[in-house]
Amino acid sequence: MIVGTQSPVSSAPHIDDYATVVGESEIGALRVIARQLQGRRVKMVNSTAVGGGVAEILNRLVPLLDELGVATRWEVIKGGEQFFAVTKGFHNALHGAAYEGHPDWFDLFLATNEENRQHMQFDEDYVVIHDPQPIALVEARDGSKSRWIWRCHIDLSHPAPQVWDFLRPFVERYDSSVFSSPAFTQGLKIPQYLVSPTIDPLAGKNRELEPEFIREVLERFGIDPKRPILTQISRFDRLKDPVGVIQAYKMVSKHIDCQLVLAGGGASDDPEGAAVLNEVKDAANGNADIHILDLPPWSHLEINALQRASTIVIQKSLREGFGLTVSEALWKKKAVVASAVGGIPSQVLHKLTGMLVHSVEGTAYQIRFLLSNPDFARKLGENGHEHVKENFLITHNLKRYMLLFLSFQKLN
């Protein structure tokens, strides 16, 4: 069996639990919309069951759609090491990096999609294919009544032409496409819809925590709760520019006594991550106020506590997909200083829900400004919380997907 099937997480929150966050009226609206889709079936397909933002979203979205009465099945395609090396190359090229693939890669990509297709059934009313890895499964639509949707989680604004020219004909065989930001689109012939990625306010990463737990986490990592804490949460990856964050911190700490926390993972199972971690340690040069935390992937509560304890949360990425760690910080009412890349400007409206920056110097300046103006920083955090509540919670994702399915009825 090539295809893996995911089962819903039974201990996760139920749809009514979200009423405490978004209100009974919003949950009522979801139920009213879901009633229009009773009896309809949905299939979601992606390339990984664990790890990464897409799997994280599907892990919650699928059981919640099911609970609302929209029967949803999640399947994961299988492929060998070579296939995923190819799709990693495609991913980077679609994000704008130069494409250095071998001509055989396109054949391998198509062969793996075909092998998966032969083991899958597509008799649902709606088929949602996530990202490029399973994109050629659309070949299975011939003669079927299903509506096919391509959900692109990638910033396609500057794709390498070799890869995009290869993928585009597949994309245009879908009925609709979905993007995380208008800036990520490519002027397709098929309808393009906007559905932002979302966070789960009741997940371990985001739920309210007891102050004692937050204090205990700070104590465990040797962080002083009485002095300002600047934090960047991200895996140790050069595209997240952790060394740039240290440079900005050093500029700030000349003027203001504060600490820096760089917390993330990826160093233990990724050779590049380990190299980046070493670069970060070199840049920190033994400074006791720079806390470098290589955390295991299950540290959701610790990450949550570090974000909640922070005075300012930084996301100084050089490239970014959507950057949901920003929404996580905004949800916790934190003042955020973040790079104007990828989907971050949708979340950080400059001077309204946070500060957008373009350089190390800009990052340092805005951090100093916010540390010196705590009332303004507080206001940014409050606005940011509202902005996330209105746009980036999982209940919005549920609603948008259901409306997307209903759009076919409306257009008919």
């Binding site: 208008p182 906007l194 409206l349």
Partner: protein, 216 residues
């Protein structure tokens, strides 16, 4: 308590955003696209924007972009002053917007081709309304219904309705006046400022206004 012959019918309103092909990288391109974009785009970036971003400086997307991405504060203020309550058609709303941009560019021609910090992406909203099966025949039932509906639905009945029905009023005031024959309350409800309240605040104001009338 007075009862209306025709009940007020609550709906559930929701929106799906479609990304259009048009985008503007300069004020000149904005001006051109404002003339040619779909009515649904004009609607989305003016009426729909009232539903969100109440913490932004301006309540319509065009004004916000002109300020934040083009740094043209005077034009942004002019665009923000276009009040959707004064317009009973998208044509008149579009004319107000294009009039402001065109006249600004006539007096400031160098602003037309200066690249914006970020492009403006034209979008439009598909509206979905589903009857909730809830009705009100008295003011008390209307008040209770307003407490239960989602904020999108508050927006639908109180803001979008102006254009949908070509009314210079809203669904609630229209029903209070015509169904309950209470023109003074209808006017009080209609005077609630959609530009200075959040949708939550708007809902509170609606409830308070109706509640005080019932208890007077």
């Amino acid at each position: 308590m007075r009862e209306a012959k025709e009940p007020f019918q609550f709906v559930t309103a929701s929106y799906l955003i479609r990304i259009c092909q048009d985008r503007a990288a300069t004020l000149g391109e904005l001006a051109a696209n404002l003339h040619s974009c779909s009515d649904a785009s004009i609607f989305h970036h003016t009426f729909q924007s009232l539903e969100r971003q109440h913490y932004t400086s301006f309540s319509n997307d065009f004004a916000q972009w002109v300020l934040a991405s083009c740094n043209e504060a005077a034009l942004a203020e002019r665009l923000a002053a276009v009040d959707v309550r004064d317009c009973t058609s998208l044509r008149s709303l579009r004319d107000s917007l294009t009039g402001s941009v065109d006249s600004y560019l006539q007096t400031n021609p160098s602003s037309a081709s200066r690249p914006a910090f970020e492009p403006f992406y034209f979008c439009e909203a598909l509206e979905f309304t589903v009857p909730r099966g809830e009705k009100a025949v008295t003011l008390l039932e209307l008040e209770e219904g307003i407490r239960r509906i989602s904020l999108h639905t508050v927006h639908h009945h109180f803001i979008n309705s102006r254009l949908r029905l070509h009314l210079q009023t809203n669904d609630f005031s229209h029903w209070i006046q015509n169904g309950l024959n209470l023109p003074e309350l209808a006017q009080r409800v209609d005077r609630i400022d959609i530009y200075t309240h959040t949708l939550d605040g708007l809902r509170e104001q609606l409830i308070q206004t109706i509640h005080s009338w019932i208890n007077q």
